[in-house]
């Protein structure tokens, strides 16, 4: 690389440079690993991983134990409490008792999915509109870029549960607060994903539109949108899956959907209700994930064959 190497024959110079490069790489790895390990230990310490707690032994005496093995059996205890009694001879009666609130739960399940659907739609509109000014290669000027990026950052940095708390305060308890909360968060998340797709497009079609007398909007509509559409649809479906999960818990703070039932069951210690609700959400999410994954792969294949 430097001129001093010229005195050595090329292979000897290579050996020397290679050894140097290897040594640098080894030092880099060693320092990196040490930093990572130190950070790991520190965060474990801060999160009480090494805490010692007192447990009651079977013979009634108290003893000090490390918290991890002491706490794990309690997980089984909790799960055991949520398992309903289902006897073979009276299975349907027991099952009916387990899902005793099924009419309310079904209505709330529909509400949950609708919240997710509505919120995804609003999030797509906001995220799509802002993803073009928020893309470095497409923004008409740096001010527009800065403002749209900051807006998207704020929208997605605040968790949807926090947005829900704020909107419940504004619009009272109910699904409207949930829709708005998830929509704002989804706008931020989708806008970021979309704008990264936009930053990877081929700029030549846009130049072709510009050279023909097209405005900035024409360049986006004709040059950019056809290129990014398959990716946008794919990310939107992925977001819908995420939003169904969000909307099933967001009722915990009063923003509509099944979450409010979770809260009630927990505070009233109705443990079998919890397992029933968990099962309902689990099956719904699996069904939606499966459906949208099929759809997404079809769209991705479509994009590649084009």
């Amino acid at each position: 690389m430097t001129l001093t190497a010229d005195t050595l024959p090329p292979i000897a110079a290579f050996d020397r440079d290679f050894a140097l490069q290897r040594r640098r790489a080894r030092i880099g790895w060693a320092v990196g690993s040490m930093l990572f390990f130190a950070a790991f230990l520190l965060s474990a310490q801060l999160s009480d991983f090494f805490k010692v707690t007192q447990v009651t032994l079977p013979d009634g005496t108290r003893a000090d134990r490390w918290i991890v093995p002491a706490g794990i059996p309690r997980l089984g205890e909790y799960v055991a409490k949520t398992i309903p009694t289902l006897r073979l001879d009276s299975f349907w009666a027991d099952f009916g008792e387990w899902f005793w609130r099924w009419k309310i739960w079904l209505r709330l399940l529909v509400e949950t999915v609708l919240i997710a659907f509505m919120a995804t739609s609003l999030g797509v509109i906001g995220g799509f509109a802002l993803s073009f000014p928020a893309a470095r290669n497409l923004a008409p000027n740096t001010w527009v870029l800065w403002f749209s990026r900051r807006y998207l950052e704020i929208a997605r940095t605040v968790p949807d549960l926090v947005w829900a708390l704020i909107f419940v305060f504004c619009f009272s308890v109910g699904p409207l607060a949930g829709v708005l909360a998830i929509a704002v968060h989804a706008t931020g998340a989708l806008g970021k994903l979309y704008s990264e797709v936009n930053e990877n497009i081929d700029m030549r079609p846009l130049e072709g539109v510009k050279a023909a007398g097209g405005s900035w909007f024409d360049q986006i509509r004709y040059g950019a949108v056809p290129q990014v559409l398959p990716n946008i649809i794919s990310y939107t479906l992925l977001r819908f899956e995420i939003n169904v999960r969000s909307s099933s818990i967001i009722g915990y703070v009063g923003a509509g959907g099944l979450g409010q039932e979770f809260r009630e069951a927990m505070s009233l210690q109705e443990y079998t209700d919890l397992s029933a609700l968990f099962l309902i959400i689990f099956l719904t999410v699996i069904a939606i994930d499966y459906g949208s994954e099929k759809l997404r792969h079809r769209i991705i294949d479509m994009g590649q064959s084009a």
Binding site: G208, A211, G213, F217, P226
Partner: protein, 268 residues
């Protein structure tokens, strides 16, 4: 179509320390077929982009029939870009849109926001587009996606798009550099036909001498941003080229891989 001359005076464009185009003054008469030759980096592309206002000059001015082009803004600028159609080396079509829509992009300068966003073109415009495609023998491909076409076909779609702009000047930036000789000939013939039938001024960047000599009324040779030669094809002998670019440069021009000569060119 129009009988205006394009006048460049003292046109200069600097990128950082380099003068891409340096003090170029030219008068392009209406109806001329002008070839601009020069090696890569000579400033040919920059010159064409300055004319179409894809980039703005550092100094100097361009005027068309007395209208000052360098001062245009907003809607008037978009109208000028439509008047001054541009064809690119890489075609710059939208691969995922069909050929017809790609051609209709040439009409966007005449559209408002809503009709443009909804891709709402009139029957008259569609007829114009189909007629333009027919001139280039591309009507059977009108509903195919542009990305599925061959390079030569894509470049002819780009010419059809330029035609529906109803331009007053046609600029082509290395239109055949990405094409094989047979397709290159088709594209150059199409440009020549437009020039002779419509009387449209055509300005083409080329980097092969034989193509320039075969098609152009007038040849402008550039080197390091300056015009080194401006005259007829007959005046641009190998001797003149050797004077401008040196023996090495002459070899390079004559041996360049992409040209319209379907057979290998034998250098003198």
């Amino acid at each position: 179509m129009s009988q205006h001359a394009l006048t460049l005076s003292g046109l200069t464009k600097t990128f950082g320390d380099t003068n891409a185009v340096h003090n170029v003054s030219l008068e392009i008469e209406p109806g001329q077929f002008v070839g601009v030759i020069g090696r890569s980096g000579a400033g040919k592309s920059t010159l064409l982009r300055l004319l179409n206002r894809l980039i703005d000059p550092s100094d100097g001015s361009v005027s068309f029939g007395g209208q000052e082009i360098t001062a245009l803004r907003g809607r008037a600028l978009r109208q000028w870009r439509a008047d001054c159609a541009m064809i690119f080396q890489q075609f710059n079509l939208v691969d995922r849109l069909d050929v017809l829509t790609n051609v209709l992009i040439g009409r966007l300068a005449h559209h408002g926001f809503l009709s443009s966003m909804t891709m709402n073109f009139s029957d008259v415009e569609r007829t114009m587009a189909i007629q333009a495609l027919d001139r280039l023998d591309l009507v059977p491909q009108a509903l195919q996606r542009a990305g599925t076409l061959s390079g030569g076909q894509q470049q002819r779609v780009a010419i059809a798009k330029a035609l529906v702009q109803q331009p007053r000047i046609m600029l082509a930036d290395e239109p055949i550099a990405s094409l094989d000789p047979a397709n290159a000939t088709k594209v150059m013939d199409a440009l020549a036909a437009i020039n002779s039938e419509d009387g449209l001024t055509v300005l083409v960047n080329l980097h092969t001498l034989d193509t320039a000599r075969a098609y152009c009324d007038r040849i402008i040779a550039m080197r390091a941003g300056r015009v080194m030669f401006d005259g007829t094809a007959a005046q641009l002998t190998d001797g003149v080229v050797r004077d401008i670019y040196g023996t090495e440069g002459l070899m390079e021009f004559n041996e360049a891989v992409t040209s319209t000569a379907a057979r290998p060119h034998v250098t003198a």
